[in-house]
């Protein structure tokens, strides 16, 4: 092990670039999958004929496939069918597709956990189904979903590391290149990179815990 040889300014800068890229990819994908996840989860909760069951099947299939397979498929199989994305675009698409399915499930079960009595009360005092959803069920449900949503965001951030298979210049990919220099610097590099992922994710989980304790 040689920490000095591993943590040269060149290596550190290269790893930092990868780290920032990882954060950018995660931020964009978290935002998109949150929007689509809430939308699809709500549509599933609303039990619209044909649409809700169809979305249900789609979510179920995507959720039960390995993300690695989805990344691979979007990057290497879709071009065969004439559908092409940029490298960053295919990474965002893969992460968003997978995490939207995961978040949709969180949202649906969060909405379902809202007391039925509240829905009945709202409906019988004359609110339409849509307004009941918007003003009663969604605000209460979303608050309750915060802890599982944050842990899903943490998963997403960890999963960005799978982009090594498409050579996206994110943190794990750059770490791979650094580690290729010499066997002596493999372990120090792994430690540093693990520390970076840990710092962001642990901070996120502390925020989630604070929000959770404020609720109860």
């Amino acid at each position: 092990m040689d920490f000095g040889k591993a943590y040269t300014s060149d290596n550190l800068q290269f790893l930092m670039e990868g780290f920032l890229y990882t954060l950018k990819l995660a931020a964009v994908s978290i935002l998109l999958s949150f929007i689509f996840g809430v939308l699809i989860g709500t549509l599933r909760y609303a039990r619209i004929p044909v649409l809700s069951p169809a979305l249900g099947w789609l979510v179920e299939i995507i959720r039960n496939l390995p993300l690695l397979l989805i990344i691979f498929f979007i990057r290497f199989a879709l071009p065969e069918l004439g559908i092409r994305f940029s490298l960053f675009g295919s990474a965002v698409f893969a992460l968003t597709l997978f995490e939207t399915a995961m978040i949709a499930e969180v949202v649906r079960s969060g909405l379902r956990s809202v007391d039925k009595g509240l829905v009945e009360a709202a409906r019988s005092s004359g609110l339409s189904a849509f307004r009941t959803l918007r003003h009663i069920v969604l605000p209460i449900g979303l608050k309750r979903m915060v802890p599982p949503l944050v842990s899903q965001f943490i998963s997403l951030l960890k999963d960005t590391s799978l982009m090594v298979i498409i050579s996206l210049p994110e943190l794990t990919h750059n770490a791979n290149i650094v580690m290729g220099q010499h066997i002596e610097i493999v372990f120090p590099t792994l430690l540093l990179v693990a520390g970076l992922y840990f710092a962001v994710n642990y901070a996120l989980s502390l925020v989630a815990r604070r929000l959770e304790s404020r609720q109860s």
Binding site: E60, R63, L68, L69, F72, K158, S161, V186, N201
Partner: protein
């Protein structure tokens, strides 16, 4: 329509990959269950030191990517003169990573057993270890079965990480088949089907178990 000759011509590769995926997931499940139980007991034991070790273990492995844990075995250990192949390092990585999640599930299960039972067992003269083994853990296991089924589902999906380190799993063999067919879409369509063959029944089982537990209270 997908090209079915791909699966009829290469069924041996697909089957080998499927077998290794199942094997890695099962080995990692057993390993992470043992390790996870140990960590959970560490966390709830009445000693500061074990509590700290248990909590640190869980926080570290829940907050770093699985791939890095696998790299720790695959790339990190050879630096100390311990070379491991892709299958072994992948399976060990899965085991260590998943054990953090299983530890949390088991801890939650143990906490759900009323405190009075520990007190009753302790005051009738059982040691701490006996109380855990004979009274608390058997009850906790029942509560913990649905979340662990869910973790097994995650394990099967996550085992695809073996493909990144040439771990001979379904993803890896998909790649082998793909090199011969040059038909990525259809080759991976069958890979996807085989994964769903494993994961969809597990997803269903976990839902049924959860509902049953909710009913029995």
């Amino acid at each position: 329509m997908p090209d079915f000759t791909i699966i009829t011509d290469h069924w041996e590769s697909y089957l080998l990959g499927l077998r290794n995926t199942v094997l890695a997931s099962l080995l990692a499940l057993v390993g992470s269950f043992v390790l996870g139980t140990l960590i959970a007991v560490f966390r709830i034991a009445p000693w500061r030191l074990t509590q700290f070790v248990g909590a640190a273990y869980v926080e570290v492995f829940r907050n770093i990517p699985l791939l890095l844990v696998v790299y720790g075995f695959y790339l990190g250990l050879p630096a100390f003169g311990i070379p491991l192949n892709g299958f072994v390092s992948g399976t060990l990585g899965l085991m260590v990573y998943t054990s953090a999640f299983i530890a949390e599930a088991i801890r939650a299960g143990i906490m759900a057993v009323p405190q009075g039972q520990t007190e009753a067992a302790r005051s009738s003269g059982l040691t701490y270890a006996q109380t855990m083994r004979l009274i608390i853990l058997p009850q906790a296991i029942k509560i913990v079965i649905p979340p662990i089924t869910n973790q097994f589902l995650n394990l099967v999906k996550n085992s695809s990480v073996l493909g990144v380190v040439a771990g001979l799993d379904l993803m890896y063999y998909g790649d082998i088949v793909n090199l011969e067919t040059y038909n990525t879409t259809d080759t991976y369509f069958f890979v996807a089907l085989l994964y769903l063959l494993l994961t969809l029944p597990l997803a269903y089982a976990s839902r049924v178990l959860e509902r049953r537990l909710a009913r029995s209270g």
